[in-house]
Amino acid sequence: MKRGKLLFVIFMGLMVIPSLVLAQTPVKGGTLTWGRGGDSVTLDLAQATDGESIKGGIQVLENLVIFKKDSMDVEPQLATSWEVSKDGLVWTFKLRKGVKFHDGTPFNANAVKVSFDRVIDKNHPFYKYGTWRYPALGLGPVKEVKVIDEYTVTLRTEKPYAPLVANLALWLCPILSPAAIEKYKEDIGRNPVGTGPFKFVKWIKDDQIIVERNDDYWGQKSHLDRIILKSIPEVSARFMALQSGAVDIADDLDPDSIQMAKANPNFKIIERPSVNIGYLAMNTKKPILSNKLVRQAISHAIDKQTIINTIFRGLAIPALNPFPPSMWGYNFKIKDYEYNVQKAKDLLAKAGYPKGFDTELWAMPVSRAYMPEPVKTAELIQGYLATVGINAKIVRYEWGVYLDKTAKGEHDLCMLGWLGGNADPDNFLYGLLHSDNAKPPAANIAFWENAEFGKLVKEAQTIFGKEKRAPYYLKTQEIFHEEAPWVPLAHSTIVRIYNKKLHDVPLRPNGLNSFQMIWKEK
């Protein structure tokens, strides 16, 4: 009996081996259906601010440079090489030859100039066709784009600006067909024409976006015939669609579904630390919260580890600095405010609020990777604050209104987060905490203005070389810790759950995932 079983196992094993070997060679063809939480806003990524837009646009559009697969260093994409002048002001890019846009327009220096000028030059005829977001993080520092010859272009900045090449790899700096921009005008976001491995085909609002393989792609052509990006807003419905096979990938599942998916042999799971942060900002312009001792007390009152265990189900690490430890420049010497109710109470008493105070706690209405269940997180924080006598009322608004009102500084405490696309500390420190950004509409929603912090961040922008910039950032993190304008909560782990028939599925920490290499077993 036993021997029979053994033989059977060996036999089955022999049967399986050929199929395993076969499975490793990419199969051409097939449709990938990708279930996600919402529709894109625009596919012209120079106008995009949200992850759902990026997911679609990045399949179709390409940049001059791209982040390497496994690191935050950049490598050539539409540019083949680049160099910076001695004074650090002029960047020269050599462009790839023989590349065509999906509409047949040749890619050249003029295409780069048009794609960039429409964003940075208010007098450019195409400037009015878009709302250019986050310029400070993208092309903002670029003052002039010059065509040198057909395949050479230079970018000039006013001051030396070290993060420029990393900025160019961000979704914010795509190269689009100049002919298409002229043709579609304001509607370019609904009809993107780039050079990427997939061509845009169709967009049914709030339902799906379809892209197809670009057979004339300059590089490695994609294996898939087609990708359908399908919006399924309800988390449980999205997970069910994955279970039934209606979608091949389901994004942004809640931690409990992830636990269930892990137990299911039909799914594959990738986990990766992200370059994000979820935080609780304390509006330092409000009288009580302007007191550093109060902010430190709140920092001591919140048990991050329990929030991570409960809300993130362990798929996160506690945050103590404004950006995650996977990025360079992280200050490992800083010790977090430990969870200590007595210390919090003592600090409150010292600040003159021995009995606590009343405040408002604004909770995000939507879940994000950095804050998967904001309202529940708010309820937990509310509970922690109550134990030290702080009576926080939870306030909710619709997402657009929430962003608007927090940018105006109407809140006391509010929750928000950030995904730092280019993984440069400047992206977090300047963008979210510098006094330049503390005026409504503010990105620095703690409205924290610290002269020394600000000076260090600005200086670091003008220096080249990570090693030289890092000491500035180490110091700024000390100031941030001492002043506590935020309670940094968590750096979440991002998770990709997909059907095991898919291979070579990417999951990049910065959210910029081209599906060029994916292939699907028949």
Partner: protein, 277 residues
């Protein structure tokens, strides 16, 4: 004499009694809630999250480890208060509008009733969502929204009774004795409209509780961490696959309360509506 008769009738009516018992049970639960609930309803206990029913947590715990039994008990207070206040909000203006509209006819009737018709033309929940969207999400605004939505129903019922009442002999008698219009409306006609109002208000309590729960489910009602049944149900939906108890118990509670009001309301109608005898 009449009252005693009605009580006797009530005792005989099994449906009404079943409803009454359900309501009384939940009412008592609401009243003594703070003394009998095993745990504080608002304090999270994250380590014990999503635990199934057990001796220490008979209804299990929710996603933040709060005791669901305690939350359901506290929720009964909220739902009953919502029912009472929302019904009062629709009852008072609805009755007054119905009285005036029915009594004065034409010139008063037309504008009031056409206004009511417009409100009735909206699906109730849509109108309630619209009102909470304007007022902002909160428990009080839920009650106001649900209350406003049902004003036309009361106005119509009262108006139709007034229309038949005002032709009756006793009204003409008062009038010939020199009674003013207001006196006739409020002292002579109004008391006779009370039975149908009571029936409708009782049934309306059930509807109001359901509507408020629906708004809570959509996130437009009570704000967290308030243990409102609709909001609890909505939260539980997310865990329906691995922790169904989170949604089940608030759902059962809503069901019981609404069933109670409906049974009682139906029974009352049998007793108070002479045409059904």
């Amino acid at each position: 004499m009449e009252k005693v008769e009605a009580l006797v009738e009530l005792k005989k009516n099994k449906t009404a009694m079943a409803g009454l018992i359900l309501i009384c049970f939940l009412l008592i639960l609401a009243l003594i809630g703070p003394w009998i609930s095993p745990h504080p309803p608002l304090v999270p206990d994250p380590i014990n999250r999503l635990k199934g029913p057990s001796w220490s947590h008979p209804f299990g715990t929710d996603s933040l480890g709060r005791d669901i039994l305690s939350r359901v008990i506290y929720g009964s207070r909220i739902s009953i208060i919502i029912g009472l206040i929302a019904v009062s909000i629709s009852l008072v203006p609805g009755t007054i509008l119905g009285l005036l509209s029915g009594f004065y006819g034409r010139k008063v009737d037309e504008p009031i009733m056409r206004g009511m018709d417009i409100m009735l033309a909206f699906p109730a929940i849509l109108l309630a969502i619209f009102i909470t969207a304007i007022l902002g999400p909160s428990l009080l605004n839920t009650m106001i929204a649900v209350g406003i939505v049902y004003i036309p129903h009361y106005a119509r019922i009262v108006r139709s009774s007034v229309l038949s009442l005002k032709e009756q002999l006793f009204v003409q008698a008062v009038r010939s004795l020199g009674g003013s219009n207001l006196r006739i409306i409020f002292l002579h006609i109004f008391p006779n409209t009370i039975p149908p109002i009571i029936v409708y208000a009782t049934l309306g309590m059930g509807t109001a509780v359901l509507q408020a729960a629906a708004l809570g489910f959509l996130g437009l009602g009570a704000q967290p961490p308030t243990p409102e049944w609709g909001a609890m149900l909505s939260e539980g939906r997310q865990y329906i696959q691995n922790a169904p108890h989170v949604a089940a118990f608030p759902g059962i509670a809503i069901f019981m309360l609404v069933l109670g009001f409906n049974l009682f309301g139906d029974g009352l109608r049998d007793i108070l509506d002479p045409s059904l005898r």
